[in-house]
Symmetry: C2
Subunit: 224 residues, 2 copies
Amino acid sequence: MTTTGPGRPRKQQPSRPGATARDEILDAAAELFTTQGYANTSTRSIAEAVGIRQSSLYHHFSHKDDILEVLLAGTVAGGLAFARTVCALGDGDRSPVAAAARLHAVALYDGTQLCTARWNLGVLYNLPEARSQRFHSFMADRTELRGLYQRLGAELPATGWAGTSQNGDLAFRLVESLVSLRADGLNTPESPLQAADAGIVLCGLADSLAAIRARSAELVTSMG
Amino acid sequence: MTTTGPGRPRKQQPSRPGATARDEILDAAAELFTTQGYANTSTRSIAEAVGIRQSSLYHHFSHKDDILEVLLAGTVAGGLAFARTVCALGDGDRSPVAAAARLHAVALYDGTQLCTARWNLGVLYNLPEARSQRFHSFMADRTELRGLYQRLGAELPATGWAGTSQNGDLAFRLVESLVSLRADGLNTPESPLQAADAGIVLCGLADSLAAIRARSAELVTSMG
């Protein structure tokens, strides 16, 4: 039974994904930040969207920027963990196809996360707020992820038009461009694969793309 | 001589680029929007940054969103005008090199604008506010520009790994990725050319890149 008034318990049937009130707060905040804007969203409006009191929200998060910190971290956490594991594997097969498959798999996995997350939180990356010292931990993760792309790109043969120096960074940029593509409503289920493929083509390995794709799919499946 | 108090005249020596108070307002707003955030910037703080009274600002712009509209339009105006002219030329030489040079020149010109504008206003593209109906005119311009990239890409031979369907859009995305690159402090004077080159490589024309670059440079010079 649902009672009303200041002492009412949290709704019995959560309307949002997540097992806990904390998950529901994060989901509501992600929706509001990406649809109304970060600065335009108050903790009060987040609490209202969850159906809890503002004081209950403060039990989980002291400040709105604590919520943003968790959400931003979530946009890179999966891709970063995957890339770290793939880079740790890198001492094995050093053939061009195997090396390119590692970069392709990271791009595909990372891009899939960006495209299939419930909210397109990457639209917040370029916010001046997100680039403040307050969120240095997120930016450090994103910088590490970018560095892993660069490292994987540097392990490829110098077949690309720009040598190997741009291989990884262009793949990273193509993957991040999925955020805008999604914001524009132009992404399709194939978009993450297209971004990963394009990254490989820029490495000068278009002729081996089918073999690279197959090896990349194995990597994603074995680690997913 | 500068007097103080409510009736003081505008400073004799403008501290910002622009011949007029309107230009100074736009410059101050661009700085504040890109460094503090759009929602966090008030018309009062813009007026203060220019050194004029808020009432004087309202003489030029009724609302803060009128300022954003002008600034967003400015980020695509140059590239769009250039792309329209290039597309109008398109009935001439239909050789692959000439067609690719048109796409390359548009990407190079557009990317140079994004990288050399005084403020990196592209960071505002993904703001939920910028995607509201209020700014449909900007989004219509950006959509037209994207469409011109796509049209130029579709005129190329089907040598790319994805046929011609993605040629123009991937070039557009690589150029827009310069906005994030700049926000990350990683752009160099070569970045716009690298983005344009990468767009051509994705079209499968890496072998003709030197000729395409030369022809593109002629186009930019003749129209710049």
